[in-house]
Symmetry: C2
Subunit: 192 residues, 2 copies
């Protein structure tokens, strides 16, 4: 038996996230369990609950969405940053050079396969990642802008990693960013 990790261990959280990522890929969202993730991470299931609360929260966290809310809010006030946003978004999914986009595929499998996972991811995006920086002031405009940007990013990743449609599949990140960036810019500028 491994000694098991404790809450104080600074690596425990990261270990659980890695285990969760593998478990969601192997089992799919619906069949993955906190127990199975704990076993893989060699920790007590109680520790997983302690850190993450629920399976859906753990799922969202383990997907590591490559977006910082404040950065997006700031960038939405500038121009010419759609390209940078696209490139950053793609880089995050291509960390593993041997299997670029593999985590994106795992994420869409989970989200398409489970309404609970889809709801968690959507809530996470709208409430935490892309919450309106000035709530009340044109919430509707903000929501529209956010949905436009999100759909362009997801559509691009879908074509590049899942459908592997050319030229998006083989192009460099910079080339994809140059192609998609202007549209993202327009979406970001739509609201002041």
């Amino acid at each position: 038996m491994p000694a098991g990790r404790r809450p104080g261990d600074p690596h425990t959280r990261a270990t659980i996230l890695t285990a969760a990522r593998l478990e969601f890929v192997d089992q799919g969202y619906n069949d993955a369990t906190i127990r199975g993730i704990a076993r893989r991470a060699e920790v007590d299931p109680a520790l997983v609950y302690h850190y993450f609360g629920t399976k859906s929260a753990l799922f969202v966290e383990s997907a590591e969405l490559p977006v910082d809310p404040r950065q997006v809010a700031d960038e939405s006030r500038q121009s010419g940053t759609g390209q940078a946003l696209v490139e950053r978004f793609l880089a995050q999914w291509e960390e593993d050079p041997d299997r670029p986009g593999q985590r994106f595929v795992a994420m869409v499998q989970a989200v398409a396969g489970s309404e609970e996972a889809a709801r968690s991811m959507s809530e996470f995006l709208t409430e935490r990642v892309w919450a309106n920086p000035h709530p009340g002031v044109d919430d509707e405009g903000w929501a529209r802008q956010r949905a436009l940007v999100a759909s362009q990013l997801v559509g691009t990743a879908w074509m590049r990693y899942v459908m592997k449609m050319e030229p998006l599949a083989s192009a460099s990140r910079a080339e994809v960013a140059a192609l998609i960036g202007p549209g993202v810019d327009r979406a970001l500028r739509r609201e002041g």
Copy 2:
């Protein structure tokens, strides 16, 4: 035992497609079989092969992509049609008012869950639905334009049907088309 349908029956093809759609939803692409689809359609498996050849061809056909190649080619030469294209694209997935987008969800599950299904769908889109109407003349530009339009359509459907992110989830088709259409227009006009 049901009498079974024969090749001459004008409804046989449609019956097989309906059965395939249900089978792909219930079993997922990888576990669905020609045999299972034939059983559901109450036909001989040989008849399914006769009409569709392979499971992946049947899958693509049963997804009924709502795009006519010549129409898209024509529309790409006009302006102001991105909106119509978006509206037509959405209408196709919302045929069943009780479960709008349910077939889109089934399609993305299959494509995200199987590299074979993804490859079939991608080949179908590039070679049959959106083949270059003037092969050789700027094939690259055509491919770029096609990838941009496809990623915007898929991204929009993903946000509306899978993630259910507002305002794309609750807006009318016309509202979504008005929001997304201009970007599709720009993608369509990028090449002359």
